[in-house]
């Protein structure tokens, strides 16, 4: 096996005139979480489906765990787990039947398979729901059985396609715990997400994709650094002084200051941290009362905006335009 768990070069896939994936290069090291971050329609699912051997690329190549996804598809299939974006177990069957079905297909004996199914349901907090049809599960339970179904044989690499989209915060935290647990046991996780904070929290490295192309790649720290040192956030006692404060900050920092949603707050990008002290002193000298200030790393939201020129979580309609 090569150095990387996943390596792709110039991967492409079109549907009619839609260039869903338009030349993706990825190099994902073994171990840890690799995040693929992008808005709806960016090409995340299409990329994962090619990597999991479900779709044949139009052009380019991809190796997963050292095996070519086209030539050695069967070798890839026996080593990776896939949890698709949408319901990936049979909703008519019960939780235990679904896992037993997969265990049998993967070569477990009936007895060992049943044991494995029970153990997985226990570990995922689904013991009580074992004999209930999956269609009666809540969203969080459904997502957990989807993931459990990919772990019947512990995979070396697991693909999780938007594992937390649509989940409440509590269920989302449970999924995050599961992901961290899998990584602790040495499984490589490639996960896609539309949520910047999710990539920030979980992923060691992130590829930002938009319109089928990787537009930035790096650790979340690197991505943030690439858009500047961070920003200065300032909150004033009197909102009516904000326009004045904007002028002062822009003068010292030599970048425009932006008003925040809070009517008394504003922020400005900074390229040189030394100027911050001067800027604050200048506000004081101008008689503007500052009640709070903070020096923040840029958020991934800002990163995305800078890289793509549009916000990350826009609606698909806007994206299609």
């Amino acid at each position: 096996m090569g150095k990387f768990a996943i390596e792709t070069r110039g991967l492409k896939k079109s549907f009619g005139t839609t260039h869903a994936v338009a030349g993706v290069d990825l190099a994902v090291s073994a171990g840890g979480v690799y995040g693929v971050l992008g808005p709806n329609g960016a090409g995340k699912t299409t990329t994962i489906r090619m990597l999991a051997t479900l779709l044949r690329p139009d052009a380019g190549e991809a190796q997963v765990l050292g095996y070519d996804v086209v030539r050695d598809a069967q070798a890839v299939r026996s080593r990776v787990g896939l949890t698709g974006q949408f319901a990936s177990v049979d909703e008519d069957l019960t939780g235990v039947e679904n896992l037993l079905l997969l265990a049998r297909l993967l070569g477990y004996s009936r007895r060992r398979g049943r044991q494995r199914a029970t153990d997985l349901l226990d570990a995922f907090g689904l013991a009580e729901a074992a004999d209930r049809q999956v269609k009666k599960y809540s969203g969080g339970m459904h997502r957990r059985i989807d993931i459990a179904a990919s772990l019947v044989v512990t995979p070396e690499l697991i693909f999780l396609d938007e594992p937390t989209t649509g989940l409440d915060p509590r269920s989302r935290n449970q999924v995050w715990e599961i992901v961290r647990g899998m990584v602790a046991e040495g499984t490589t996780v490639l996960l896609t997400t539309q949520y910047l904070d999710e990539a920030d929290q979980l992923a060691d490295r992130i590829a930002v994709i938009d319109h089928g192309k990787v537009i930035a790649e790096g650790s979340s720290g690197e991505l943030k650094a690439s858009v500047g040192a961070g920003s200065l956030h300032v909150r004033l006692r009197a909102p009516e002084q904000r326009a004045e404060a904007e002028r002062v900050l822009a003068g010292v920092l030599e970048v425009p200051a932006e008003p925040s949603a809070d009517p008394a707050a504003l922020s400005a990008r900074i390229s040189d941290p030394e100027r911050v002290a001067r800027a604050l002193a200048e506000l004081f000298r101008s008689g503007i009362d500052v009640t709070e200030f903070a020096l923040g790393q840029p958020s991934l939201d800002e990163v995305f905006l800078t890289l793509t020129g549009h916000a990350a979580e826009e609606t698909p309609e806007e994206d299609a335009a």
Binding site: L54, A87, T94, R104, G125, V152, V153, G181
Partner: protein
């Protein structure tokens, strides 16, 4: 039932439990094509258990047709309902089975719409096994449908001169033909987008196929061109065979016809289906 309450009550995911379950996973050797196909067949049976409503086409449809045709047209077509029943019942049996095969495509298309189909395709198993397994599960549906039609026939006064052996043989032949015909619907379900369009197209094929045959009437009264169509329809030959076997004759040539058309159906639609399945978007 309140799923939210149940979830709150359920134990949270613990790191220790997760660790031990990940470490405990074994890596058994892959099972062969027969076992994986049978396992998918088991899934089909589980679905029948959980969603018994899906057997409506298997039960209501043949009962309705047998009663309707026997009592509506029997007198006019054959002089008496009893006499017509002897002619019609083997034909209805054919029609019922052929109609039940349509369900195969609709079920598969529903799977494709959901993500479960992707999961199956991402498994390291013999690739046709989800399809073959579904078709094996369908054999149970055909058997149930056949049992219902034959029982109803016997109650109404159908007397097969070929006895139990003739009846069993004809059912076996029907199962073989239905299994092979299902590949046509499987192929359709990989081409069409929604389960509804699969149902629509299947109906358009099914109705002419079963009515322009010798299932309901002897083609002797039809115009020549229509007789020619009936003659090349494989359903006609199937009905002739089933009728023959049930009434004690063994039409060897016709049996050959049915077996050849069965093999042809799989030989043509099987490979096309597998190519579509492999390249499904």
């Amino acid at each position: 039932m309140n799923a939210t309450t149940a979830e709150q009550a359920s134990a949270p995911v613990t790191e220790d439990a997760l660790r031990s379950v990940l470490l405990a996973g074994e890596r058994p050797s892959s099972p062969g094509p027969v076992l994986t196909s049978l396992t998918f067949g088991w899934r089909a049976l589980l679905k029948i258990k959980h969603v018994p409503e899906q057997l409506v086409d298997v039960t209501m449809f043949p009962i309705m047709f047998t009663l309707m045709f026997t009592y509506l047209f029997g007198g006019a077509l054959a002089g008496s309902t009893q006499e017509y029943l002897q002619f019609l019942l083997p034909g209805i049996l054919v029609q019922a089975n052929v109609m039940i095969t349509m369900n195969t495509g609709i079920t598969l298309n529903t799977d494709i719409q959901k993500g479960v189909f992707d999961r199956f395709r991402s498994l390291p198993v013999w690739r046709p096994s989800p399809l073959v397994g579904a078709l094996l599960g369908d054999l149970v549906r055909y058997s149930i449908g056949s049992a219902i039609v034959i029982t109803l026939g016997l109650v109404l006064g159908f007397r097969p001169e070929g006895g139990a052996v003739g009846v069993v043989l004809s059912v076996v032949l029907l199962l073989v033909f239905s299994f092979c015909l299902s590949w046509l619907w499987t192929m359709l379900s990989l081409i069409l987008r929604t389960p509804n369009s699969v149902a629509g197209v299947s109906m358009m094929v099914m109705f002419p196929l079963t009515f322009v045959s010798n299932i309901f009437v002897d083609p002797k009264t039809m115009p020549g061109w229509m007789q020619a169509v009936v003659e090349v329809n494989p359903i006609t030959h199937l009905a002739t065979v089933v009728r023959g076997l049930m009434h004690g004759s063994v039409p060897a040539g016709e049996i050959g016809w049915v077996l050849v058309s069965s093999v042809l159906l799989v030989a043509v639609f099987g490979p096309i289906t597998m190519v579509l399945y492999r390249n499904k978007k």
